[in-house]
């Protein structure tokens, strides 16, 4: 608890800096990542991250010291080159994008490894700083370095904000954007530069391998909560920022814990949670909807049994026992009993001495389902030329799904019918 208070009071300037830095880095990466994800370029970020190594090493070899500005510039240039190489290879040969990405990633990093061995041979003392660049160490973000990274991250956030509408359109439909007169090529170029910039700044925190996660994991998670790009980018930034904060906190509490990997683990945890639980799109909510659908189907089918039995003697409110109910329609007794109980609690049925009967409300519902069933049968025969003896099965499903709007439309198209194709009456 004391840790928590200490941490969030930000009284320790080191804490302040590291937290500020990681949040800025992770949220700017997440913001750019949202657009990369939508353009189906998720793994391009991975390639860029690996490809900055030779640039960093070249800058180091050139200056002989850990000059942060020079190294960032080197990283930027080689990251950029890798993207150009990927595009060029895919455009000018039969090599496909996935192979181009993998090839560029491995070769650039391989060249970097060769240059690293040179640096190690020079036995330069500042070499440990280089390691942080490759494997990431957020705690090394102090002083002037932090200032530079924060400025870069802020530049990314502001630029994306300014061009938000254009990026959205390009991500959504390139051709349409072009037709509207947007400078699509230049916008692509800008987004590419921002991607490289986000990678270059983010790498210090998480390292080469994990950088792809900083870009796409928050965006992939955000995708599950909304369909609107504007919201998605916002949610991705929030997830990214939270992951950054959590990573910083964990390594504050347990100093031996690496910040970067924890940031990735936290944001992946958010992503996994979203994949499973996000409303509508998550795995479990979808399963739950299906489960609920089963109940709706069972309930409506049961109501229909009452209606059909009632139709035989025009006595819709009669009380029926289990045997009578199962005589018209195959239904498992256990399911039937459970459904009857549910319908009774919804006051669609009344129950007395193990017998059940429709309430007025229940009658309305039952009539509606039967009506939809018969209207759909009519629709199938009339508009789809399906013979009358083939339409029942289809109508069995559709009766449960038609909304009031669709019902009205159906009614209208059929010109308010009163007989179905089997010449039975359609209830009003």
């Amino acid at each position: 608890m004391q840790n928590l208070i200490d941490f969030f009071s930000f009284s320790d300037p080191n804490v302040r800096y590291v937290v500020l830095g990681t949040i800025l880095l992770s949220s700017s990466a997440a913001m750019v990542g949202a657009f990369i994800l939508l353009q189906k370029k998720a793994l391009v970020g991975d390639a860029v991250a690996h490809s900055v190594l030779p640039g960093i090493c070249a800058a180091f070899l050139f200056s002989g010291s850990k000059n942060i500005v020079l190294m960032l510039a080197g990283a930027f240039v080689s990251g950029w080159l890798s993207l150009v190489a990927i595009d060029y290879i895919t455009a000018k040969s039969k090599i496909k994008k996935d192979a181009a990405i993998g090839l560029v990633l491995a070769v650039f990093f391989g060249v970097g490894m060769v240059m690293m061995t040179f640096i190690q041979q020079t036995g330069n003392a500042a070499q440990s700083g280089l390691d942080h660049f490759i494997f990431g160490k957020a705690a090394a973000l102090v002083g002037d370095d932090l200032l530079i990274f924060s400025i870069l991250a802020a530049v990314i956030l502001i630029t994306v904000g300014l061009f938000f509408k254009a990026f959205t359109l390009v991500a959504f439909d390139k051709n349409y954007a072009q037709a509207l007169g947007y400078p699509v090529r230049r916008l692509d170029l800008l987004l590419t530069s921002l991607t490289v910039l986000a990678v270059v700044t983010g790498i210090t925190a998480v390292g080469v391998v994990l950088m792809a996660a900083m870009l796409i994991t928050p965006a992939a998670a955000a995708r599950y909560w909304t369909n609107r790009i504007r919201h998605m980018v916002g949610i991705a930034v929030a997830f990214g920022a939270f992951a950054g904060l959590a990573g910083a906190y964990i390594s504050y509490v347990a100093p031996s814990m690496p910040t970067g990997p924890w940031m990735v683990v936290v944001s992946t945890a958010i992503a996994f949670f979203s994949f499973f639980f996000a409303p509508k799109k998550g795995i479990f909510p979808r399963m739950y909807t299906q489960y609920k659908n089963q109940w709706i189907i069972a309930e409506e089918n049961t109501l229909k049994i009452f209606y059909h039995l009632g139709e035989r003697n025009s006595h819709f409110n009669g009380m029926r026992g289990l045997n009578e109910l199962t005589s018209t329609r195959e239904m498992e007794r256990a399911t039937l009993k459970a459904t009857l109980r549910r319908l009774a609690t919804k006051e669609l049925l009344v129950t007395r001495n193990n017998q059940w009967g429709l309430t007025d409300k229940g009658y309305q519902q039952a009539a509606r389902v039967v009506r939809l069933h018969r209207m759909w049968e009519l629709y199938l025969t009339k508009y789809m030329d399906i013979p009358a003896d083939h339409v029942h099965d289809d109508a069995e499903t559709i009766e449960h799904i038609l909304t009031p709007e669709l019902e009205r439309e159906l009614e209208h198209q059929l010109d308010y019918p009163d007989k179905d194709p089997h010449n039975t009456k359609i209830p009003k």
Binding site: K94, N293, H390, D394
Partner: protein, 262 residues
């Protein structure tokens, strides 16, 4: 409007097909007689390719069944041939024309046997029929659209099947190839093979096919060309989508509703 065949070689019964729960084909039900050239005709997105893929067992139907020669596909697979849409494969793939045609023999070869001289002679024969024997050694990316289609047909011939399903074999081919293909199809039909062709040109459909399946999400008409290929039926198939049907389909996808009650 549906006219059934007397002794059907293909029976499609009440077939409903969905992509992630959204039905794109509703209750398709038709039959085909043996030795006919049947055209599957309908606007873009009508579900023509989907119908062929479902018959070939590539997409599981939500309901209904397909019978070939009175049996499920599994039991008569060696008598059935399929020609996918030309764009469905990567023509940069490093194989030669002869290699592709030999693939038609794989189904009969079993797991371990490799193509032998007999298979090669057979494949060359098929290429010859398509006027492509001079190209046997050529890499497939160096072929024109019409030549690619001829290679695909040669591969189908190499299967020595009794019923052929072809997805848009006339799309993007030159006039000579189109003529060569239709001559071949007629020869095959004369030898009592049944051929089902997806086609989208109404003009030529009337000349090419003796049986027509008109499709637009649902079966509009099926039967002998002279009887079912009327202006009224064509109007029905091309006169826009059934709005309600599409809306119901969307609703089923959105609510994750089962296409058939379990």
């Amino acid at each position: 409007m549906i006219i059934h065949a007397k002794e059907p070689v293909l029976e499609v019964h009440d077939l409903t097909v969905s992509y992630s729960r959204k039905p794109v084909l509703w209750g398709i039900d038709f039959t085909l007689p043996s030795g006919c050239i049947a055209g599957v005709v309908g606007p873009n997105g009508a579900g023509k390719s989907t119908l062929l893929k479902t018959i070939m067992g590539l997409i599981p139907p939500s309901s209904g069944y397909v019978k070939l020669f009175g049996h499920p596909l599994e039991e008569v697979r060696h008598r059935v041939s399929y020609v996918p849409q030309r764009e469905s494969v990567d023509w940069d793939f490093p194989v030669s024309v002869l290699d592709v045609v030999l693939m038609g023999r794989y189904g009969k070869m079993g797991l371990l046997r490799n193509p032998d001289r007999q298979d090669k002679a057979m494949a060359m024969d098929c290429l010859d029929k398509m006027g492509m024997s001079a190209f046997a050694k050529r890499q497939i990316s160096q072929l024109s659209g019409g030549q690619q289609q001829r290679v695909f047909l040669a591969r189908a011939l190499a299967q020595e099947a009794d019923i052929y399903f072809m997805d848009e074999p006339f799309a993007g081919v030159d006039a000579a190839t189109e003529q060569a293909i239709i001559t071949l199809l007629r020869d095959m039909a004369a030898a009592n093979k049944t051929i089902i062709v997806v086609h989208h040109d109404l003009q030529s459909a009337r000349d090419y096919f003796d049986w027509i399946i008109l499709l637009n999400m649902r079966l509009v008409a099926g039967g002998p060309t002279g009887e079912v290929f009327t202006d009224e039926m064509i109007q029905q198939a091309y006169g826009g989508r059934l709005n309600l049907l599409a809306q119901v389909g969307d609703m089923m996808e959105k609510r994750a509703f089962p296409t058939r009650e379990p």
